[in-house]
Every structure is written in structure tokens, then in C-alpha cells.
Amino acid sequence: MLHTVNKSPFQNSSLENCLRVAQPGDVILLLEDGVYAASAGTAKSSLVEQAVKRHTVYAIDADLKARGLANLIREVRVASYGDFVDLVEQHPVHAWL
């Protein structure tokens, strides 16, 4: 199962909502404002720091660059839109809008 999250973790609880339901082994893809959750050392970093223990967590490269995010939580994998397509091919997908 692939879960996409596109909301800032500081303003919106979508990522928490997603993590409550996602099962071990499910893949999480952060995109749009969702990529702020991949940032290290923030008040919300613990969400992804915990998530990577049960999930593979990706963040869209173009969204990270647009927001100037370079200091990421180590286990987060940077993904292109092409990688996003591959993930969709491999998993059924739910968007946590």
C-alpha cells in the first residue's frame, strides 16, 4: 500500500492520520507541503523518525528543492516524479488529502 501525504505537519494532522492507519511495510510518499515532514530537527521530525521504523518514506525531490529543504531525516529517500510513478505501479494508492 502506498500512502501520499501533501500537507504541512505543522499545520495539518494528515500525516498523523495516515500513520495511525498505515500498516507495517506500507510505503509513505511525501509531496507538496507534505515534504516539510522530512526536515530534520523540527518540532515535528519525530513523526517521520518513528515512521521510518515501519515504513519506507519517500519525499519528492522537486518539492524539497522548491522549499529549500536539504537537511533531511537520514532514512528518508528522495524520489523523482518517475519514482512516484514506479511506486504507483507497485502498490494500490491512497491520498491523504
Binding site: 500500500m1 492520520n17 495511525r20 492507519v21 500498516q23 494500490p92 491512497h94 491520498a95 491523504w96 488529502l97
Partner: protein, 133 residues
């Protein structure tokens, strides 16, 4: 109609009335129910607030969609689920949520079925597609 087609789920996660997503998700349910697919609907997170009893939108000058939700079963939208924890967090008793129809034989009221998040996750993983609001 016996649904034999693909498994399609509609998830409703937004609160009602502050935005139109719940209403337009119901329009999707009604249409999808007439197609050959195995449709299921899940209310979770703020979406469960759509099932809150006693909603009356008259004072806002808008029609609302309580009548539509109350007729889901009539429209063959029968696999309707709601997340237990989301109800609990919002202090909505499980037996207080609105009814979505009546049993054809016993006339007993039908409510969305309350599930744990693990059961919802399991259902999600078996879908062909999920439309989310």
C-alpha cells in the same frame, strides 16, 4: 444490482459544511453505485463528523446533504464503514451516528458499520482504486 466489478473505495476525511468535499463525495457514491463495481465507503478522521446526529444547515442558507446520506442504502450504497477512533476523539457515541437506510425486511435502521483502523487498512489494501476526499 449484484456488484461483480472492481473494488473501489471512497474515503471521506473532511469535515462537513466548512467545505463542499463531503457533499461532492456523496454525489460520487450515488453514481458509482449504479456502475458495475464493488463500492465501499469509509468515513474517517473529520469525515466522521458528517455522521453527527442533529445537523441542520438552514441557518447557513444552504440545503445540506443529510437527506442524501440518509438514503445511501436506498441507492445501493451498502458497504459503509466508519472509523472507531475518529468517532471517539470527537465524542460521538457509536449508536448515535445517523442512519443511512432501513433493512428491507425488518425495517430496522441501518448505520455505517464501526471498524478499527487495522480493519480499514486491510480493506484499503485490497482495493483496485481509492477515491479520497
Amino acid at each position: 444490482m449484484a456488484a461483480t466489478g472492481k473494488k473501489v473505495m471512497v474515503t471521506v476525511r473532511k469535515a462537513p459544511h466548512g467545505s463542499i468535499y463531503v457533499q461532492e463525495s456523496i454525489e460520487v457514491m450515488f453514481i458509482f453505485a449504479t456502475y458495475d463495481m464493488q463500492l465501499s465507503v469509509v468515513f474517517l478522521d473529520d469525515g466522521v463528523l458528517a455522521l453527527h446526529p442533529g445537523q441542520d444547515t438552514k441557518g447557513l442558507g444552504i440545503k445540506g446533504f443529510m437527506a442524501s446520506l440518509g438514503a445511501l442504502v436506498d441507492w445501493e450504497v451498502t458497504r459503509v464503514y466508519v472509523d472507531r477512533q475518529s468517532l471517539k476523539d470527537r465524542n460521538i457515541p457509536e449508536d448515535a451516528i445517523i442512519t443511512i437506510g432501513r433493512d428491507e425486511e425488518t425495517d430496522a435502521p441501518i448505520r455505517p458499520q464501526v471498524l478499527d483502523s487495522a480493519e480499514i487498512a486491510k480493506m484499503m489494501a485490497t482495493q483496485h482504486s481509492i477515491v479520497s476526499f
